[in-house]
Every structure is written in structure tokens, then in C-alpha cells.
């Protein structure tokens, strides 16, 4: 097979379309894997049940969600850049008493429902938090 015969110097419309598509895909890939670059300080509340992530809620927009897990129902509320468990029918109420969390690495734990809300995202001077000892 010889390349010489099909060489064209002027790109046609189809070529330009493909180039555009590649650039768009590349941009999408960058945005998807480097979301921090697009929005500085973007944080999200990661909701997990039984250790599996069920939802990521961006902290910059208000949201109300209900989750039912292991027989308990929790209402999670995102407002003013923070997240809290507004209501729960669990027996301990530790999750509700934790109040609002807003910094990376902080978490709310509901042991009876096996539900956690953890803040992920923009660095805030540390990687991990110790000493929040969950009471039995």
C-alpha cells in the first residue's frame, strides 16, 4: 500500500470536523479528571451507605436528600457551603448532633444506618483528621 497517492495538501471539511471533535474530547477528559482546575475550592459531600458511595453533592448549591438505609431514614441538607443530617429516625441521633460539617476530611457518621457523609475536595491545609472518636 502506498501513502503517496492519497496525500492531499488542503484539509477538507471532514478533517476539520474530526480535529474539532478530538479537541472537544480532550477538553472534556481534562475537565472530568481535573475538576479542581475548573472551579477553585469546589468541595462535595460524599454520601456512602454500607461503605458504598451513593451520591456526591456539591457544597456550593443547596440540596435536600432523603436516604433510607438499614431500616432508618435520614434527611441530609446542603446549605451555606456545609452539610448536615437535618433529621434521622436512628436511635442514637449522633449523626444529627454532629451538626454542620464544611471542611475537607470532616465526616458525619450514622452507625445504626451505616451511612456516612464525608467532605472531599479542595485542600484546606491537611489531609486527615484525628480525634473525632465515634462513641460506641
Amino acid at each position: 500500500m502506498s501513502m503517496n497517492r492519497s496525500v492531499k495538501l488542503k484539509p477538507n471539511a471532514a478533517d476539520l470536523l474530526i480535529v474539532a471533535a478530538v479537541l472537544l474530547l480532550a477538553a472534556l477528559a481534562l475537565f472530568r479528571f481535573f475538576p479542581g482546575g475548573a472551579r477553585d475550592g469546589a468541595q462535595s459531600a460524599v454520601v456512602s451507605i454500607d461503605g458504598k458511595i451513593v451520591e456526591r453533592l456539591p457544597l456550593f448549591q443547596r440540596a435536600q436528600r432523603s436516604y433510607t438505609a438499614n431500616g432508618y431514614t435520614l434527611r441530609v441538607s446542603v446549605e451555606d457551603g456545609g452539610v448536615r443530617v437535618a433529621q434521622s429516625d436512628c436511635p442514637t441521633q449522633d449523626c444529627v448532633h454532629t451538626g454542620v460539617i464544611s471542611r475537607r476530611g470532616q465526616s458525619i457518621v450514622c452507625l445504626p444506618a451505616r451511612l456516612t457523609v464525608t467532605i472531599e475536595g479542595a485542600p484546606d491545609g491537611y489531609d486527615l483528621v484525628v480525634g473525632q472518636g465515634v462513641a460506641e
Binding site: 480532550a26 481535573f34 454532629t98 491545609g125 489531609d127 486527615l128 483528621v129 484525628v130 480525634g131 465515634v134
Partner: protein, 339 residues
């Protein structure tokens, strides 16, 4: 035409591929074990296999060490006064060594006294009477537990609770599993206590914030650390009020009463998980001066550092972390390096 599309499509695939391997480099798993939530995060090595193996191991350890689970080795030991288990025997030998070194400030045989106060599982909080307290204290003493090979025997009426060492030991086991899977950078959050494996993926140390027990939104400071355990014990974790007096769960085995060491919270930094865990209790019971003496005694064998919050609002920290612990200026506490 087709010949021009193929290289472009290839470029497209390459671009996406690169972006993915560059940043999608951590894998994490949440595990419910030992009455808490553990979060394991690995940054390299055989990540998925490492996490799976770690979860299996944590479940196994829970079944071995949970004194409330019928069928566990610790349950059998408490119920029958004796049990055969090589692993439990090794862990109890470590516990006995820490009890000896700390003059009994850490002692897993304190279980019957904890139960009297209601700090056992499912009990009701109350202040015990002098006589029953004296009777329970008579059963306490790790040195009277017989460990002979895999065979463990308790003296009459004695009970064991490994709550003060089991999590640290579990962290030790997970760290070994990670290492065996080629992991060199990982964090193991044991529900408020952490094990750090190696450095962060960028080569810098992990930055660990120590929570202010008085205010969840505030911090005592940030510690830069690598390859160690950071385990915190605090009187605030469990307590009750009775007639205006606060009774907390860190019981001094010498008196059978809540420790009056003047420490509210203690974070111990140590390379060994079981020791870090047990030492956080020991330091809480001993108070600053005796804890410094203990640290001196262990300087060659098990070096450790600690950061302690006192009830009069001072944050005291040992010289080994003086260069890596950054006090939080907004905490309102007085910072005091120890030497």
C-alpha cells in the same frame, strides 16, 4: 480519508488514557469493623486486591477479638477462663508488656471495673459503691494472666477487654497486607485514629489535623507525619454526669475510678499500632510527668511522642514533634513544648 481518521482517533484515545492514569490514582474503601467506621485509602501498588484483602482481614479480626461476639476467642476466654489461640496469645503478650512498662496504667483486665461504671457494652451508667469496686479491682492485674505458648488462662473472675489495643493491632495487620501488595503510600483511618503508610503520593509528609475535643470545627494543630500511627484517647469520648460530677471512661486501674491526671485528650505518635493504641490510654491515666518518665524508659525499645490537651487549657507536646506540629493560632489554647 480513513487513513487520516485513524491517527486522530488514536490521539484521542491517548489523551483520555493519559488523563486517567495521572489523577485517578487513589482507591479507597470504607469498612465497618470494631464498632467503628474505617476508611482505607491506597495510592499505589495492587490497590483493589490490597483493599479487598484488608477488608477480609478486618472482618476476621473482628470475629477474633470482639468480646461481645459469641464464638470469638476473647469471648471464649472470658466465658471459660481459658482459650487456645496463637494470635490472641501474641497480642496478649504485647498487652502484658505494655501493662508492665506503664506500671499498670494500661491494663486490659480492667474490664470488670469498666462494667461496674457502665462503660462496658449495653450497661447503664452509675457510680459504683466502695465494696463492689474493691471486689472488682481484686480481679484486675494483667500479670496474673497466664500465657503459655498458645494457651491463655485467666485467674478466677478476671475478664479481658482488648478495646484499648485491638484497633491499633488491626491497623498493624492492614499495614502489613498493604505492604505485601506493593503499596508504599496509604492512609488507614481507624475511626478517628490513623495509620500512615509512607508519604503522600507527591513525596511530602501527610498533614494530620488533631481535632479540638471542645469544638468539632476547631483543631489543636496540624502534624506532618509519615510511617506512623496517631492514636487519640479522650475523656470526652464517653462520660456521664451524676450529682454535678463528671465521670469519664478512662479508668485508672490503680484506683478503679476515672483517671484524675488532668488530661482531656492525648494523641500518641508511634511506629507500632498496638503500642500507640495502648499508650494513648496509658498517657491519659498517667498524666504529663509520669508519661514523660514512661517515654524515657521506652526511648530505646518503643520510641513515642505525644500531644496532650490539659483541663486548664494547655496543649503540651514532646520535643520529637516540636518541629512537625504546627499549633492552630485560632484554638485559644496555650502551647507548651515539653522537654
Amino acid at each position: 480519508m480513513i487513513r487520516r481518521i485513524i491517527p486522530l482517533l488514536m490521539a484521542c484515545v491517548l489523551l483520555t488514557g493519559c488523563a486517567q492514569t495521572d489523577t485517578d490514582s487513589s482507591a479507597s474503601k470504607t469498612v465497618f469493623a470494631m464498632d467503628t467506621i474505617m476508611t482505607l485509602t491506597v495510592y499505589d501498588g495492587a490497590r483493589a486486591d490490597a483493599l479487598r484483602a484488608a477488608e477480609t482481614e478486618l472482618t476476621r479480626l473482628d470475629a477474633l477479638l470482639d468480646r461481645a461476639a459469641a464464638g470469638s476467642a476473647v469471648y471464649s476466654l472470658n466465658a471459660n477462663g481459658t482459650v487456645r489461640s496463637e494470635e490472641l496469645s501474641a497480642l496478649l503478650s504485647t498487652a502484658a508488656e505494655i501493662a508492665r512498662e506503664s506500671d499498670g496504667a494500661f491494663d486490659p483486665t480492667i474490664a470488670p471495673v469498666l462494667a461496674l461504671w457502665g462503660f462496658g457494652s449495653g450497661n447503664v451508667y452509675r457510680v459504683p459503691g466502695q465494696e463492689e469496686l474493691a471486689a472488682a479491682l481484686d480481679t484486675v492485674g494483667m500479670e496474673r494472666v497466664t500465657i503459655s505458648g498458645a494457651e491463655i488462662t485467666l485467674p478466677e473472675h478476671a475478664q479481658i477487654d482488648l478495646g484499648g489495643i485491638a484497633k491499633g493491632y488491626a491497623g498493624e495487620r492492614v499495614r502489613a497486607i498493604f505492604a505485601a501488595h506493593g503499596v508504599t503510600s496509604a492512609t488507614i483511618d481507624l475511626g478517628g485514629d490513623v495509620c500512615l503508610l509512607g508519604n503522600k503520593p507527591d513525596g511530602s509528609p501527610w498533614r494530620v489535623a488533631i481535632r479540638d475535643p471542645a469544638d468539632r470545627e476547631r483543631y489543636l494543630g496540624v502534624l506532618a507525619a509519615r510511617d506512623c500511627f496517631i492514636v487519640t484517647s479522650g475523656v470526652y469520648e464517653r462520660f456521664f454526669m451524676d450529682n454535678g460530677v463528671c465521670y469519664h471512661h478512662i479508668i485508672d486501674p490503680a484506683t478503679g475510678c476515672p483517671a484524675a491526671s488532668g488530661l482531656v485528650s492525648v494523641s500518641v505518635v508511634c511506629a507500632d499500632g498496638a503500642w500507640a493504641d495502648a499508650l494513648s490510654t496509658a498517657v491519659s491515666v498517667l498524666g504529663i510527668q509520669d508519661a514523660l518518665a514512661l517515654r524515657e524508659r521506652l526511648r530505646q525499645s518503643v520510641p513515642f511522642e505525644f500531644i496532650a490537651l490539659t483541663s486548664d487549657g494547655r496543649v503540651c507536646y514532646t520535643d520529637g514533634v516540636a518541629g512537625t506540629f504546627t499549633p492552630d493560632g485560632e484554638s485559644g489554647y496555650v502551647y507548651e513544648p515539653l522537654c
